[in-house]
């Protein structure tokens, strides 16, 4: 009887611990957005650009680097691709 109670407690302890470990691992893992046909095509372009000579990249980059308005220096940080220039954002939503 005593053995059974101890066994039960141990068993419960490990079950709960395992559950926490599994849940924690799952929560800790980043759930990436599903690849789409567009994102796959973009990845292919990015891959091709990476392997191509800089002369192939330059026309694209120079198009994006135009700097009359300043404050575009962050263009190479992808996090800023949508908002590296304040006035662009302002123009992005404007509907006049």
């Amino acid at each position: 009887m005593q053995f059974n109670a101890r066994h039960l407690r141990r068993s419960l302890f490990w079950r709960i611990t395992s559950l926490f470990l599994i849940c924690g691992t799952l929560l800790g893992l980043k759930v990436e957005a599903k690849p789409t046909s567009v994102s796959k095509r973009i990845e292919a372009v990015q891959k091709a650009l990476k392997g191509s000579p800089s002369s192939t990249n330059e026309p694209y980059l120079s198009r994006i680097q135009w700097g009359n308005w300043g404050n575009w220096a962050n263009w190479n940080n992808w996090n800023n691709w949508a908002n590296w220039n304040n006035w662009n954002n302002w123009g992005n939503w404007l509907n006049l």
Partner: protein, 406 residues
């Protein structure tokens, strides 16, 4: 037994907004007056005949609110818009700018921007703009035969010639400016004329807003499905002309699409992708109307009546700080709906990795709910330019399997 308890628990939990909020402010939109001196037939502003102005105290309180919330870093970007800002005098802005500087007290750099219909720009305005290094954008729809179809005075007269006089003034004073053009169905077959006009205008960039359904503008010449192919051809023609001529100006939609192709990362969580979209992240953009009411997400929601969201008035400067606004019921309801809509986009839209969840105001006006997905704006202004630019990259890089994007 369990189900009712779960529902009860959920009713408490669902009241809270558990999504992300901005850690910095991108834009503070101030509506100095809702009044506009012209009457474009596609305008979304409902109160553009109201002549009231934002008080200096409201301006001060607006800036205090964002500073106290810790949302301002090295720069505070103020945009004067949502009406025609230049109907107010240069003196008004002298005082307004001074009031903002006084509140900021050197803690950060301040940049001012105006979006104007360009009718009233004169030498005094040019001197003021130069003195303060303010940015200015003009609303021009292209050549006169297109512009004057929709952008008319309150007595129905054309405005193109007046805008072009302002363009000359800006050039005389060496003030750089950009343009925003609304593209209606009338312009779709005139891509060459539109492109040539902006190429000759001497601007840094033009953004093309494909006519949308927003605010009081509840019907669009672009609504009919039949136009999609015409819109695609319009973008394609602009792209071909732009590529062929290597002009000095940028086309906003192509630049954005190209930047997304080069730098976007699909292998992120949907939340991380959504955080790139300024319109869906609470307090990344804060709008304050002329009476001091505060709103966030899409600025077009300012002035819209909807009792379910308290007319999108989430609080008032001088009375509520952003912490109180964040806890307010209209904000929580709105923010949850916006974020639910973004999540739906992440599950259903092919373009999510380059968009981040669309425009909340477009979803609201077109689909009747923030908690929804694709809109006309998505199709016409994000997806079609992306298709054109991405295919352009693929053709140049000779990536063979460039199947059509649907």
């Amino acid at each position: 037994m369990i189900l009712p308890l779960a529902r009860l628990a959920n009713s408490f939990v669902s009241e809270k907004y558990r999504g992300p909020v901005a850690s910095y402010l991108e834009l503070l939109i101030l509506q100095p007056t809702p009044f506009c001196n012209i009457n474009c037939d596609y305008c979304y502003l409902s109160n553009r005949s109201v002549r009231q102005t934002m008080s200096l105290e409201t301006i001060r309180e607006s800036v205090r609110m964002v500073l106290n919330a810790g949302l301002v870093g090295e720069r505070l970007s103020v945009v004067w818009h949502a009406g025609e800002p230049l109907v107010l005098s240069v003196d008004y802005y002298q005082e307004a700018f001074a009031a903002i500087e006084e509140v900021v007290d050197g803690k950060c750099e301040i940049s001012h921007s105006f979006q104007s219909n360009g009718i009233l720009i004169d030498d005094d305005w040019c001197a003021f703009i130069r003195k303060h290094s303010a940015r200015i954008g003009l609303s021009i729809d292209g050549p006169a035969f297109l512009h004057d179809l929709h952008r008319k005075t309150r007595t129905g007269k054309p405005t193109h010639a007046k805008v072009m006089r302002s363009v000359e003034k800006l050039k005389q004073h060496s003030i750089p400016f950009h343009a925003i053009a609304v593209i209606t169905a009338d312009a779709l077959d005139h891509a060459d004329a539109v492109f040539n006009f902006f190429q000759n205008l001497g601007i840094a960039e033009v953004g093309f807003n494909i006519e949308e359904l927003e605010g009081v503008h509840d019907s669009s010449s672009m609504s009919a499905e039949v136009n999609t192919d015409r819109i695609r051809k319009f973008w394609q023609r602009l792209y071909n002309l732009h590529e062929a001529s290597l002009p000095s100006f940028q086309i906003r939609e192509f630049r954005k699409a190209a930047a997304a192709v080069l730098f976007s990362q699909a292998r992120l969580s949907w939340q991380e992708i959504a955080m790139q979209n300024d319109q869906v992240l609470p307090f990344r953009i804060i709008s304050v109307d002329y009476q001091g009411h505060v709103s966030t997400f899409s600025p077009e929601l300012m002035g819209v009546h909807d009792t379910a969201y308290n007319d999108f008035k989430l609080g008032k400067v001088g009375e509520d700080d952003l912490y109180a606004i964040r806890e307010s019921k209209p904000f929580r309801k709105m923010a949850n709906a916006v974020m639910d809509g973004v999540r739906k986009c992440s599950r259903t839209c092919e373009y999510f990795s380059v968009c981040g969840g669309g425009g909340p105001s477009n979803k609201y006006f077109e689909n009747g709910s923030f908690n929804s997905t694709v809109t006309m704006y998505c199709r016409n202004s994000i997806q079609l330019p992306m298709q054109v630019v991405l295919t352009g990259f693929e053709n140049k890089l000779r990536i063979i399997d460039s199947a059509d994007i649907e």
